[in-house]
């Protein structure tokens, strides 16, 4: 592979100029999900690290607007000063993930359990499309039904419809305290039945993750809220579960989850959306191939650390009608498995990026 050129525009006019001046571009934020910005020969990297800063934030409004290259860490710290947070729990905060990269990757973390994912909190976006046009969709208020929902279109578009330069999010007050229960399960079926019961229960849960520890399923269930009631709520959960125990140093546990600390260095990291019903079959495949994995969002998705041939996983996912997004590891194209809506995505791409300046979506 020949050396790639990197350009780093400092404002949106420079983004427009850069896009018009380069026939083939790959957008890169913090580079924490490198498989999403893999360049083939000849493409120029458009880095967003100079497009930073919170543009607007009125804490009482619970809405902020920031430039795309702003590190999540900076945003989280600013929000935390006012007792607020990003409820969709974007991954890789400490590693340097950016706001734009999170939108483009469409990633939410374990904390999505409580209120939803990144698609549920993005309310406005400004982007430059493949023709160099600056376009705005959505707005800066929490409720808005005017025009097509371009913000949602850009969630998960991995920089292949245009370059997000600025985004507005709604945020929520952060629970003042957290507590986590660790609940080992006898079998996978038991674990899935417990998750199903939890999902239908009246417990307000911040996270429900399923791990496989030494071959056995273990649930990690996080609660959050007022410090004065949390102990009683956790006790009530433990009674309801009929097992499990409070987890010491739970903050570190979830920080490790956010950082993918469990993922071995040399494997391919894949996100796969799921339903509870599909887990047993997938679990057989992952177990047989010795892949480490972590289910999150009450069984809504799994992170897979794959060490075998990517084609093998691709074939399995396709058979199961599941999709995969490769975040780390060598891959010519970040999508594997089924691709519902691919023809519609292609039509949208022809409007926003008719000359294929950005890679195939």
């Amino acid at each position: 592979m020949s050396a790639t050129t990197t350009i780093a525009p400092a404002n949106l006019e420079e983004v427009q100029t850069a896009i018009c001046a380069h026939e083939r571009l790959v957008v890169r934020g913090g580079g924490t999900k490198p498989a999403l910005s893999t360049t083939d020969d000849g493409a120029t990297v458009l880095a967003t690290h100079r497009l930073t800063g919170i543009v607007e934030y009125t804490p009482g409004e619970f809405v902020f607007t920031a430039r795309a290259g702003t590190p999540l860490q900076e945003i989280a710290a600013t929000l935390a000063e006012h007792g607020q947070y990003l409820p969709f729990d974007p991954p890789l905060v400490a590693a340097g993930a950016t706001l734009g990269g999170t939108i483009a990757a469409g990633l939410s973390g374990s904390g999505r359990q409580r209120y939803g994912g990144v698609r549920d909190f993005l309310i406005g976006v400004r982007f430059v499309d493949g023709q160099g046009r600056l376009v705005r969709g959505g707005g800066k208020v929490v409720k808005n039904a005017a025009g097509f929902d371009l913000p949602r279109l850009f969630v998960g578009s991995i920089g292949r419809l245009g370059v997000v330069v600025e985004a507005s999010f709604k945020v929520f007050p952060q629970p003042s305290q957290y507590a986590t229960v660790r609940a080992p399960q006898l079998t996978l079926d038991d674990a899935l039945a417990t998750i199903a019961r939890l999902n239908r229960s009246t417990f307000d849960l911040e996270a429900v993750d399923l791990l496989i520890e030494d071959g056995a399923p273990v649930l990690y269930i996080r609660q959050g809220g007022l410090a004065t009631t949390l102990a009683a709520r956790q006790q009530s959960l433990l009674t309801w579960l009929g097992g499990g125990a409070p987890l010491a140093d739970e903050a570190a546990f979830w920080a490790d989850a956010n950082a993918f600390a469990w993922v071995p260095a040399d494997c391919t990291l894949v996100k796969t959306p799921l339903t509870l019903h599909t887990i047993p079959v997938l679990e057989q495949v992952l177990h047989a191939h010795g892949a480490q994995r972590r289910y999150f969002g009450g069984g809504a998705a799994v992170w897979i650390a794959w060490t075998g041939e990517l084609d093998t996983l691709d074939a399995f996912l396709t058979t199961l009608q599941l999709s995969g997004l490769i975040l780390r590891g060598a891959a010519p194209w970040p999508f594997i498995g089924a691709r519902p809506g691919a023809t519609l995505a292609a039509r949208v791409k022809r409007v926003l990026d008719p000359t294929n300046r950005f890679p195939t979506l």
């Binding site: 039904a145 279109l153 999508f335």
Partner: protein, 482 residues
């Protein structure tokens, strides 16, 4: 456009009793809840199967005839207004709940399923469908999807788009697409979210996968009365800033209180200038603790009186007054216009003061009943269409309120959609490029612009205002404009 050929082909595939052609049969389809507009279609197809919808769309595409998909016709923005000499595809009979999976917490429904019927079907499993537009007794999921409908409980759990996981749709050129699926998560662009709120311009949703939520363990509701609308607006800002996250926060003004009391005797304090309803929901222990905090915040906001709902019956009474307020106010006047603008929540007091001032300046009464928690105003402009000049004054006042919302950094619509009604305001909110890109996206799916033509995008042709007064369903108390 080859209308004759289209009608000929439709006759081959749709039974005569479900292919309406006579004016008398089609009258109910000429308008929706925005009664100011009326248009006569060439035909109405009462579709009973997905295949009939697909076939009709494909024929419309083949013969270049515009079509409008329609649910119960409760759109307040003229979203389901027919195109003159086009086809209406009525979806009410496509009303099966195809699958309800309590383990996965999803329901897969056809577009004609009524909003409240989803919650009814889910109730035995302890689940419900969260979006609650006030027409939920009659409005359909297909219409909710097209207009990204809201309701009183959007604050915590969002609008329709937040609750739609997957859509099978027929695009305007007849292609069938499956977007999203049964999972809460997705990879690739969020095409489901992109489709929701496209106001029927992207085609017709045939199967919709909805997310269901567990019913909260406890609700706690408080009613606070204030000396001014502005004070109630400031109280909302205080609650939002307090770190509490209520499920609903609603405001009514004096005119609305008076009308609601007359209509349903909700027990509201009658001498108040404004009422604020705040509701918390969730786990019992947590809600009880938060409610104590909420009451402190409310007390500190200078209310005249504070009433706490003692039990479910009390809570139901408070909400009954709120939910009937709109239609009750409507009965005070021969005609009214309702607006749906949004302002940043911290500017609510200011926005309400401006509306009061505009009301006096235009010498028209304005009632306010709205979703305060998310800054979604619903000023109701009362006028008499038979008095020369009053309609024009009402429209001028509505226009000034919309401009105020944009100037304050808000939106022209929170939940009713742009439709026919607010399309001329789109250029005030979006640049020429923004609108051009949206129009290109639309044409990429619909080169002939046959799907719901005339909605959302500003257009040179001025639609004629033909009638005023309440919608027939409104008179029956089945729908209300909020």
């Amino acid at each position: 456009m080859q209308l004759g050929n289209l009608l000929h082909d439709l006759e081959q595939s749709i039974p005569a009793e479900r292919l309406l052609r006579r004016p008398a049969q089609m009258t109910p389809y000429e308008s929706d809840a925005l009664t100011a507009f009326r248009a006569r279609p060439a035909a109405v197809v009462l579709a009973e199967t997905q295949d009939e919808v697909i076939q009709t769309v494909r024929l419309c595409h083949q013969y270049d005839v515009p079509f409008v998909a329609r649910g119960s016709g409760t759109s307040l923005s003229g979203g389901s207004l027919p195109v003159e000499d086009g086809v209406v595809i009525a979806l009410n009979r496509l009303n099966r709940i195809l699958r309800l999976d309590p383990t996965q917490r999803i329901a897969v429904v056809e577009p004609g399923v009524i909003n409240l019927d989803v919650s009814r079907a889910a109730a035995p499993h302890g689940l419900y469908y969260a979006p609650d537009p006030s027409s939920q007794l009659i409005c359909t999921i297909g219409g909710n999807v097209a207009f990204n409908s809201g309701g009183a409980h959007c604050l915590k759990y969002g609008m329709t788009a937040n609750h739609v996981l997957g859509i099978k749709a027929v695009l305007p050129d007849g292609e069938i697409v499956q977007l999203g699926g049964a999972s809460l998560e997705v990879v690739g662009p969020d095409l489901t979210g992109f489709f929701v709120g496209s106001e029927g311009l992207f085609g017709v949703a045939l199967e919709i996968t909805l997310r269901l939520l567990p019913k909260p363990e406890l609700y706690r509701t408080v009613l606070a009365a204030y000396d001014s609308l502005e004070a109630a607006g400031e109280a909302v800002a205080r609650v939002v800033a307090s770190g509490l996250l209520p499920g609903a926060m609603e405001i009514m003004d004096a005119l609305a209180i008076e009308a609601a009391e007359a209509a349903v005797h909700a027990g509201y304090p009658r001498d108040a200038a404004a009422l604020l309803i705040v509701e918390l929901e969730g786990e019992r222990i947590q809600v009880e603790a938060e409610f104590a905090h909420l009451l402190q915040v409310i007390e500190a906001s200078g209310p005249k009186t504070v009433t706490v709902a003692k039990d479910d019956a009390d809570r139901a009474r408070i909400w009954k007054g709120r939910k009937s307020a709109f239609s009750a106010v409507g009965r005070l006047s021969p005609d009214y216009l309702v607006q749906d603008g949004v302002v940043p929540r911290s500017r609510l007091g200011e926005a309400l003061a401006t509306i009061e001032r505009l009301s006096r300046a235009h010498q028209l009464r304005v009632a306010n009943v709205f979703h305060a928690g998310d800054g979604n105003l619903h000023p109701l402009i009362l006028f008499n269409g038979r008095v020369p000049g009053e309609l024009e004054r009402a429209e001028a006042l509505a226009g000034e309120i919309i401009r105020m919302c944009i100037d304050l950094g808000g939106s022209i619509t929170g939940e009713h959609g742009v439709g026919m009604e607010k399309r001329q305001h789109m250029p005030a909110m979006f640049t020429e490029t923004d609108l051009a890109v949206m129009a290109e996206l639309r044409r990429a799916l619909d080169p002939g612009e046959i799907a719901n033509r005339g909605k959302m995008f500003p257009s040179g042709e001025a639609p004629t205002l033909r009638s005023h007064g309440p919608h027939p369903l409104e008179r029956q108390g089945l729908i209300s404009r909020e």
